[in-house]
């Protein structure tokens, strides 16, 4: 009888592990042309970042003018789909930004204060909510004998951190007869397996060590306290926040980049892939995870505002909403 109960416990445990493991949020992917590919081909636009004008890639123009780009993106999307990952379509996301007016670059606090600048690229990231951006580019090489080859590069960037998590690059065999689309097709076919294997390694690392994100703490000017205040517990507020991070990160992994009276920055903060709510295991993202810190501060009587920059960076403004 005892043996049967033990077996039952084991089955329930395995079932729970299996359910919890399958509930992590599947990362969304989106393929975009690489910045230097856009600039080299003249697909760029000017963007005024609070008085500083800079050139940024124009994906819409690139898609409108370059049919090969559409071909390569469609191919990669198709291959991802075969591996059970549906990539977001770049053109649809750009349309979404236009219709929703999401390209608006400025946001501000309800009661004044900090303003967060956001470029059209950031706006795209926010609308598409792609966890991983695949950036691709190529150059066509021609030998004096007239043979052509393609140098191809494909990079996967984690939207949370901007870090490169997979890459494939190289130059294909010279070919005197095949047109560019065929050379590009060959390049994608040649590199995709190694690329996806690297991507899988990154996913496995996420499950093992947690997903990396960044968190910033800011203090409103009109707040009576700061991060060195000892009115909220047995230590300075900054240290209390660090204690919370230690308890709520995978392996207590985070790096304190800045710690001053009015601001703190944490990077390489490893958050779990899942969390439990009402007995159900759900996928966790940076915003949802930081909501825990926001609630913890509210419990101490600290009003705060939680904002996100992109997907993997969150900022908490202490003092008011």
């Amino acid at each position: 009888m005892k043996n049967q109960i033990n077996k039952l416990h084991l089955i329930v445990l395995l079932l729970f592990v299996s359910i919890s493991y399958s509930q992590a949020k599947k990362p969304t992917l989106m393929v975009v042309p690489a910045d230097n590919w856009c600039f080299n081909n003249g697909y760029s636009e000017s963007y005024d970042n609070q008085g500083v004008v800079k050139d940024i890639p124009s994906y819409r123009v690139a898609l409108q003018r370059d049919t090969d780009l559409d071909l390569v993106i469609t191919m990669i999307n198709g291959m991802l789909s075969q591996r059970d990952f549906d990539a977001k379509n770049l053109k649809s996301q750009l349309d979404k930004i236009e219709s929703a007016g999401a390209e608006e670059a400025m946001r501000s606090s309800k009661y004044g204060g900090a303003e967060v600048a956001e470029s059209p690229i950031d706006a795209l990231k926010k609308v598409a909510k792609a966890d991983i951006i695949l950036k691709l580019g190529w150059t066509l090489n021609t030998t004096p004998m007239g043979e052509k080859s393609v140098t191809f590069i494909l990079k996967a960037l984690d939207s949370y951190t901007g870090k490169q998590i997979a890459q494939a690059s190289g130059t294909g065999a010279p070919d005197g007869f095949s047109p560019l689309p065929v050379l590009l097709e060959e390049a994608v076919v040649s590199y995709i397996d190694a690329f996806l294997a690297e991507l899988q390694t990154a996913f496995e690392r996420w499950f093992e060590k947690g997903r990396e994100c960044a968190i910033g703490i800011r203090v409103w000017d009109d707040w009576d306290y700061d991060l060195e205040s000892e009115d909220f517990g047995d230590d300075e507020l900054g240290f209390l926040i660090e204690n919370w991070l230690e308890e709520n990160t995978v392996g207590a992994a985070y790096t304190t980049m800045d710690a001053e009276a009015t601001m703190m920055n944490f990077e390489q903060v490893r958050i779990p892939m899942t969390y439990e709510k009402n007995g159900k295991v759900r996928g966790l993202d940076a915003r949802r995870w930081a909501k825990g810190l926001s609630s913890y501060l509210k419990e101490m009587g600290i009003e705060n505002k939680l904002t996100t920059v992109g997907l993997g960076e969150v900022k908490l403004y202490l003092g008011s909403k």
Binding site: K26, P27, R83, F85, G170, A173, S190, D193, A197, F203
Partner: protein, 175 residues
Amino acid sequence: MKKLLIFIGILFIAIGSADAQSKRNKKKADTETATWNYTIECVGEAAAGVYTLKVFSILPDERLAGVQASKNAVHAIIFQGINAQGRKCKQKPALARSINLETEREDFFKEFFASVKRNDPNNFAKYVNVVEEVTDRQKLGKKKYRIGTLVTVNVALLRKKLEEENIIKSLSSGF
């Protein structure tokens, strides 16, 4: 009547002999499989997920070339990966995510690489097409040949099969 009996007798002996020969060949093939004595050269990738490979197998009998090259090609794709070959072929990583997979799932692979008929869905041969059984032949010694065989392997299907059997993890595993 006597002639008929003689004929039936000869027929039985012939069938028995063929069967014994087939069993001997199978045994030989399985012995060779256990040693995994081969080298692989990537020739190209005609379509996404289909590799064209030249397999050089070390064999005691040329007649084993086709089946042994097929096994060797699948073995390399699962456990070793395929090396880059100049500009015509890029590095292909192994499907196995663990270096101990072969021993960890010994029972599965023993059955998978067993020399049974091609139409067996659990068999390696389903994923391989022998294009040219003997492309190169080199005698290395007494009853020892290095035989080159050109094959194509449907890696996409092979990966799917191993994922379905929970032998390897899929890209979306855990999500």
